[in-house]
C-alpha cells in the first residue's frame, strides 16, 4: 500500500511538473511594460513553489515507500521528540524564502499603483455597464467633457451621460473598443454604472475592478501593437460570459493620424492666407504709387519711403505663385482631405503606410519653412556676406526682398546667380531646394495614396463603387507620381547650374552685366520642356480633386446618382493622360519647332473633350434633382461655373495662332487663375464645408457660409473677368507698373476695379475664418450623417474613431451614389446597407447579378438614371 501511494505521488508530481513545463498552456505573450517583470516574478515564484512542491512530494513518497510497516509487530520506529536545530533551520529558510518572494511580489504592484501616471499619458475614461464597455476619449482638445448620470440615455446612445452643453464635450468620443497608443503610458479612469465589473486583457497582465460609486485610476504602458480580447472578470449578471470588447494597441502615429491630416489643412490655410496677402500687396503696387508709411515699417528694404520697389513686387509674384501652387493647391485637397477621407471612403482603418504619411507631412512642412527662409536669406545683406551662403548657395542676398524669377523660374535668369541682378542670389537656390523638398514629400504621399487605394479597400468596395472623390485622388496621385520626379530632375539641374558651375541651362557665350561667362553651353529651352512636362499635369493635380468633390457634392445635394459615373471616371483618367502630352502649349513662342507646336495645339484642344463630358455630366446630375442649397453645394455649383468660365478660354490659348498675341498677357493670368486657382479653391471650400462636421463633430454656420460664398463668388468674377479684356488690350504679366506704356493707360479704371474686387474678396475670407473658429467652438452638433449622404465616412461617428471604424472594417454592398432609389423608404441608401435591409426593394434573390457597380438590384434594373 505504501509503495502504491509513493508511486502515485511521484506520478502526480511528474504530471504536474509536465503540465507547468509545457509551453502550450501558458500565458499569452505580454504586451505591457510591466509584463516581463510580471512574468519574471511569476517564474521565480513558480520555481520556488515548484521546488517545494516536488521536494515535499518526493520526500513524502520516499517516506511512505521506505518506512512502511512490514506487518512485524516487533519492529520499532525511531524514538525522538524532534531536533531543535533542524526545526530552526527549516523554519528560518522557509520564512526567508517566503518573505523574499512576498517582498519581490510587491514591486510591479507598487509601480502600477503607488506612482502617479507620468505626464503625457493618454487618458481614457472607462464606464462599464451591464454587458457593455464604453470608452470615453477627450478628443482633440484633451479635455473630457462634463458627464452627468442623469443625462445617461442608452436609447440616444449617450452611454456615459455626456453633457452636450459643455464646450469641452464637443469633440469627445465614446466608443466600444479601447484604442490606445503603443509605448506611451495610458491612464484609465474606471467607473461602473450598475454592478461591479472588472476589466481584463490577459496580454496586459492587468486586471482591475470597476466599482459603482468609486472612481479608480490605474495606468500601464503597452509596448506592442495588436488587437486583443478584453473581458469582464467579475460576475455581473447572466451575460457576464460575453461582456466582450477589444483592446487595440496602435502605433503612436496611427493614434495621431487624424491630427496629421488637419496639420496639412492648417499648413495650407496658412499658405493660402499668406499668398492672398501677397496678392493684395501686388494689387496695391499696381494701382497706386501713393506711399504708405506702414509698408516701410514692415518692409524697410522692400518699400523704402512706403513705395514698393519693382524687385519687391517681383519677389511677391514669385512667392505668391510658389506658395499657392505647391503649398495650397497641391497640399490642401490631397494632403488635407485626401489623407483624411481616402482611407475612410474606401473602408480602410488607415493609410497603407502610416509612418510614411507622417513623414510626408513633415517633409512638406520643411519645404514650406525653407521657402519662407528664402525670403529672409535673399532679403538680408548681412546673411549674404556669410561664407557658407557665398560658397554653397550661389552668392549672398541682394538686400532686397525674396527671390525673383516667377514660380516658373525660367533660366538663364534664374540660373545665373547674383550677377543677374537683385533677387537672384542665394534666395533662388533656396527656393529651388524648397521645391525639391516639396517634390519628395509629394512623391511619398502619392505612393501612399496609390497603395492604399489598390490594397486596402474593404470587402465589397470594387473600384467602380468608389466615390468619385477617391477616383480623383487616385488620378491625382498617379499624376504626381509621374510629374514630380521630372520637376525634381529639373530643379537638381538648375541648382547645379547655380552652385557647381555646370551648364545645363546656361548657353555658351553669355554676357551678363558686361561679364563674359565661362559656361560651356546648355539650353534654356530644356528647362521649359522639363518644367512644363511637370507643370501641365500640376494644373490637373490642382483641379482634379476639385472635380471629384464637386461630382460627389452635386450628387449628394441633388439627391440623384451621379449622371454617367463611368464616363466621369474615364474622363478623369482621360484628362490626366492627355495632360502629359500637352506641355508644349506653354512654349509656342519659345523657339521650339513650329511643327511641334501644331501637334501640341491639337492635343491641347482635345483635352476639351473629357472636360466637356464632365461638365455635361454635372449638368445631368443637377438636372431633375431635388437640390438642397447648403453651403458646400453652393461652392460645388460655383466650381462648375468657374471651371467653365476659366476652361473655355483654354480654347483660345491652346491655338498656336491666337497665342501669338495672348501669350504672357493678363488673358493667360485670368485663364489659369480662374480654372486652377479659384475653381480649385472653391473645390477646397466645398470639401471644407462638407467634411467639417465629420472632422470636428460640429456644423459650420450655414448663414455665414452662404454669405461667404456669395461675396467670394461675386468677388472672384470681379477680379478675373476684367483681366481677360486687359489681356486683349495687351497688358503683359509680371509688370510692376503700367506707367511706362501709353497703350496701357486706358486700362487704369479696370486696374482699380480689379484691385477693389481683390480687397473685397479678401475681406470675405475673413468671414470664413471667423465662421471656422466660431463653429469649432459653438457650431451645432453634427450627427453621424448630417447631410444624409451615402458613403462610408457617414456611417461612423463625427469625429471618427482613431482607427476610423472602431476596430471593425465595413462591408460594402452598393455603389456610392444611391439617392432617390424608387421604392426605398429613404431617399438615400448607405453603401453598407445590404439589399435585404431596404424594404421596398424587390430583392432579386440568388439570381442577383454578381457584380453590381453603381445602381441597386431592383426589379427594373439599372434605375435612377432616367
Amino acid at each position: 500500500m505504501g509503495r502504491l501511494l509513493a508511486v502515485l505521488l511521484w506520478v502526480i508530481t511528474i504530471a504536474s511538473v509536465w503540465l507547468f513545463a509545457n509551453p502550450r498552456w501558458w500565458f499569452p505573450r505580454g504586451i505591457t511594460e510591466h509584463a516581463p517583470d510580471y512574468d519574471r516574478q511569476f517564474m521565480l515564484t513558480i520555481y520556488v513553489v515548484g521546488v517545494a512542491f516536488v521536494a515535499a512530494q518526493i520526500a513524502l513518497g520516499v517516506a511512505v515507500w521506505h518506512y512502511s510497516s512490514k506487518g512485524d509487530r516487533a519492529e520499532r520506529a525511531v524514538y525522538t521528540h524532534g531536533n531543535n536545530r533542524l526545526e530552526m533551520l527549516w523554519t528560518g529558510i522557509t520564512a526567508l524564502i517566503f518573505i523574499g518572494v512576498a517582498l519581490l511580489g510587491q514591486r510591479v504592484w507598487a509601480r502600477l499603483h503607488f506612482y502617479q501616471s507620468p505626464a503625457g499619458s493618454a487618458q481614457v475614461h472607462v464606464v462599464a455597464q451591464q454587458f457593455q464597455w464604453n470608452f470615453h476619449y477627450p478628443g482633440a482638445d484633451g479635455q473630457f467633457g462634463h458627464t452627468e448620470p442623469r443625462l445617461i440615455k442608452d436609447a440616444e446612445l449617450n452611454f456615459v451621460g455626456l453633457d452636450e452643453q459643455d464646450p469641452a464635450a464637443k469633440d469627445d468620443q465614446v466608443v466600444t473598443t479601447l484604442v490606445i497608443p503603443v509605448n506611451r503610458p495610458v491612464e484609465l479612469a474606471l467607473r461602473s454604472k450598475d454592478v461591479t465589473h472588472s476589466i481584463w486583457v490577459p496580454e496586459t497582465r492587468f486586471k482591475q475592478d470597476l466599482v459603482p460609486g468609486m472612481n479608480i485610476n490605474v495606468h500601464f504602458t503597452p509596448v506592442e501593437t495588436g488587437k486583443f480580447e478584453l473581458a469582464c472578470a467579475e460576475l455581473c449578471g447572466q451575460l457576464h460570459f460575453k461582456m466582450k470588447s477589444y483592446l487595440l494597441v496602435v502605433p503612436q502615429d496611427v493614434y495621431n493620424e487624424m491630427l496629421g491630416s488637419i496639420q496639412y489643412l492648417i499648413l495650407a490655410m496658412f499658405s493660402a492666407f499668406t499668398g492672398m496677402l501677397m496678392s493684395l500687396l501686388m494689387r496695391l503696387k499696381l494701382t497706386t504709387e501713393h506711399p504708405f508709411a506702414f509698408l516701410e515699417t514692415i518692409f524697410p528694404n522692400g518699400a523704402p519711403g512706403g513705395v514698393m520697389t519693382p524687385e519687391f513686387y517681383l519677389s511677391l509674384v514669385t512667392m505668391h505663385g510658389t506658395m499657392m501652387v505647391f503649398f495650397v493647391l497641391t497640399t490642401a485637397p490631397q494632403g488635407g482631405f485626401g489623407n483624411y477621407m481616402l482611407p475612410i471612403q474606401v473602408g480602410a482603418d488607415d493609410m497603407a503606410f502610416p509612418r510614411l504619411n507622417m513623414l510626408s507631412f513633415w517633409v512638406t512642412l520643411v519645404g514650406l519653412l525653407v521657402l519662407i527662409s528664402a525670403i529672409f536669406v535673399e532679403g538680408s545683406t548681412s546673411l549674404g556676406t556669410s561664407g557658407f551662403v557665398n560658397k554653397y548657395l550661389g552668392g549672398g542676398g541682394s538686400g532686397t526682398i525674396g527671390p525673383i524669377g516667377g514660380w516658373t523660374g525660367y533660366p538663364p535668369l534664374s540660373a545665373l546667380g547674383k550677377i543677374a541682378g537683385p533677387g537672384q542670389g542665394a534666395g533662388v537656390t533656396i527656393w529651388g531646394l524648397s521645391i525639391a523638398i516639396f517634390c519628395v514629400g509629394s512623391l511619398l504621399g502619392a505612393l501612399n495614396f496609390i497603395t492604399t487605394l489598390l490594397n486596402m479597400r474593404c470587402r465589397g468596395m470594387s473600384l467602380m463603387r468608389m466615390p468619385l472623390t477617391c477616383w480623383s485622388w487616385f488620378t491625382t496621385a498617379i499624376l504626381a507620381l509621374l510629374a514630380f520626379p521630372v520637376l525634381l530632375a529639373a530643379i537638381v539641374l538648375l541648382v547645379l547650374d547655380r552652385t557647381a558651375g555646370t551648364s545645363f541651362f546656361i548657353p555658351a557665350g553669355e554676357v551678363v552685366s558686361d561679364a563674359l561667362l565661362t559656361h560651356k553651353g546648355g539650353s534654356p529651352i530644356l528647362w521649359q520642356h522639363l518644367f512644363w512636362f511637370f507643370g501641365h499635369p500640376e494644373v490637373y493635380i490642382a483641379i482634379l480633386p476639385g472635380m471629384g468633390v464637386t461630382s460627389h457634392l452635386l450628387s449628394t445635394f441633388s439627391r440623384r446618382p451621379v449622371f454617367g459615373y463611368r464616363a466621369m471616371v474615364f474622363a478623369m483618367f482621360g484628362i490626366g493622360l492627355l495632360g502629359f502630352f500637352v506641355w508644349g502649349h506653354h512654349m509656342f513662342i519659345s523657339g521650339m519647332s513650329p511643327y511641334t507646336g501644331m501637334a501640341f495645339s491639337v492635343l491641347t484642344l482635345s483635352i476639351g473633350v473629357p472636360s466637356a463630358i464632365k461638365t455635361f455630366n454635372w449638368l445631368g446630375t443637377v438636372w431633375g434633382g431635388k437640390l438642397r442649397f447648403t453651403t458646400p453645394m453652393l461652392f460645388a455649383l460655383g466650381f462648375v461655373s468657374l471651371f467653365v468660365a476659366g476652361g473655355v478660354t483654354g480654347l483660345v490659348l491652346g491655338q498656336t495662332t491666337l497665342d501669338l498675341a495672348m501669350h504672357d498677357t493678363y488673358f493667360v493670368l485670368a485663364h489659369f487663375h480662374l480654372v486652377m486657382g479659384v475653381a480649385a479653391i472653391f473645390g477646397i471650400f466645398a470639401g471644407f464645408y462638407f467634411w467639417f462636421p465629420k472632422m470636428f463633430g460640429r456644423m459650420m454656420n450655414e448663414t455665414w457660409g452662404k454669405v461667404h460664398f456669395f461675396l467670394s463668388f461675386i468677388g472672384v468674377y470681379g477680379i478675373f473677368m476684367p483681366m481677360h479684356t486687359m489681356g486683349v488690350v495687351g497688358m503683359p504679366r509680371r509688370y510692376s507698373a503700367f506707367t511706362e506704356y501709353a497703350f496701357l493707360g486706358k486700362l487704369s479704371p479696370l486696374v482699380l476695379f480689379v484691385t477693389v474686387s481683390a480687397f473685397f474678396t479678401a475681406a470675405a475670407q475673413l468671414i470664413f475664418l471667423f465662421n471656422f473658429f466660431w463653429s469649432l467652438k459653438r457650431g451645432e452638433r453634427a450627427g453621424d450623417n448630417p447631410w444624409e449622404a451615402t458613403t462610408l465616412e457617414w456611417v461612423i461617428p463625427s469625429p471618427p474613431p482613431f482607427d476610423n471604424f472602431g476596430g471593425k472594417l465595413p462591408t460594402v454592398y452598393r455603389g456610392s451614389y444611391e439617392f432617390s432609389v424608387p421604392g426605398a423608404p429613404d431617399d438615400f441608401i448607405l453603401q453598407t446597407t445590404p439589399d435585404e435591409d431596404v424594404p421596398g426593394l424587390s430583392h432579386a434573390g440568388d439570381g442577383a447579378p454578381a457584380t453590381r457597380e453603381q445602381g441597386v438590384s431592383t426589379g427594373n434594373g439599372h434605375n435612377g438614371h432616367h
Binding site: Q132, K244, D803, G807, K808, V812
Partner: protein, 239 residues
C-alpha cells in the same frame, strides 16, 4: 437626420442589426471585390491583423516607388538626349573601372536571386550568406564608382568641365544615392535574418513578413542593377 449605431463595434452592433456597419457581411454577397475584411468570423476579430498577414502593400508600394524613380531618370535622360543633340558636345571616355562595377552589380543580382531561392527552401544559413554577399557586392560597386570618379578627377575632368562630364557625375551620383538606399534595405534584411520566432502563428507571421521584405528589397535591387546597365549604355555606348 439619421443617427446610426455604426461605429459601435462588437457585441452592441450584433444586438442592433440596424443599417450601417453592424453587418459582418458573412455569407452575404456583396458583389464587389474589395480586398480586406469580411473573411473573418463576425465580432470584428482579425481585421487589423490582416495587414501583417498579407503585406502586399510592401510590394505594391515598391513598384510605385520604382515607377517614380524611373520617371526621375527618364527626365534626366531626355535632358541628356536633348543636350547631346545641341552643338558643343565633347565625348568623355568611359573609365575602364566602370566595366568592373557593371560586372559587380550584375553579379549582385544573381546572388540576390540565390538568397531568395534559399529562403524559399527554408535554408536560413544560405539565405544569410547570400544576402551578405549581395551586400558586399553592392558596397564593392559603390567603391568602384568612387574610384572611377577619383580617376577622372585625377585627369582633370570635373563636374563643370563639359556637358558630358556634368551628366556623368550627376547620373552616377544620383544612381549611387539610390543604390545606397538598396544597401540600407539589404542591411535591414541581414539584421532581421537572425530573428527566429517561437513557433506556430508567430513564426508564420514572421515568415510572411520576411518574404514581403525580401520581395520589396529584391524589386528595388534588380531595378538598381538594370538602371545602372541602362545608364552605362546611355552614357558611353549610345551615339
Amino acid at each position: 437626420m439619421v443617427t446610426m449605431v455604426t461605429t459601435k463595434a462588437g457585441e452592441r452592433v450584433a444586438e442592433r442589426p440596424a443599417r450601417g456597419l453592424g453587418r459582418d457581411g458573412a455569407g452575404k454577397r456583396t458583389g464587389g471585390n474589395g480586398s480586406r475584411g469580411g473573411q473573418f468570423p463576425p465580432g470584428g476579430g482579425g481585421d487589423s491583423q490582416r495587414r501583417d498577414e498579407t503585406p502586399h502593400h510592401y510590394r505594391i508600394g515598391m513598384w510605385i516607388a520604382v515607377a517614380s524613380i524611373l520617371m526621375l531618370f527618364m527626365a534626366l535622360t531626355s535632358a541628356y538626349v536633348f543636350r547631346a543633340a545641341v552643338s558643343g558636345w565633347q565625348d568623355l571616355q568611359a573609365p575602364p573601372l566602370l566595366w568592373v562595377s557593371t560586372g559587380v552589380i550584375i553579379a549582385s543580382s544573381f546572388t540576390f536571386a540565390l538568397a531568395r531561392k534559399s529562403l524559399r527552401r527554408d535554408d536560413g544559413a544560405a539565405y544569410r550568406r547570400w544576402i551578405g554577399v549581395t551586400l558586399l557586392l553592392g558596397l564593392a560597386f559603390l567603391g568602384c564608382q568612387f574610384l572611377a570618379w577619383r580617376g577622372l578627377i585625377a585627369q582633370g575632368v570635373y563636374l563643370a568641365s563639359s556637358p558630358h562630364s556634368s551628366f556623368f557625375y550627376l547620373l552616377t551620383a544620383l544612381h549611387a544615392l539610390h543604390l545606397a538606399g538598396g544597401i540600407a534595405g539589404l542591411s535591414y534584411l541581414l539584421l532581421r535574418a537572425g530573428r527566429v520566432a517561437r513557433g506556430g502563428e508567430e513564426e508564420r507571421a514572421v515568415k510572411v513578413r520576411r518574404g514581403a521584405a525580401v520581395d520589396a528589397v529584391g524589386i528595388y535591387w534588380h531595378f538598381m542593377d538594370g538602371l545602372w546597365v541602362y545608364l552605362f549604355a546611355l552614357l558611353f555606348l549610345w551615339r
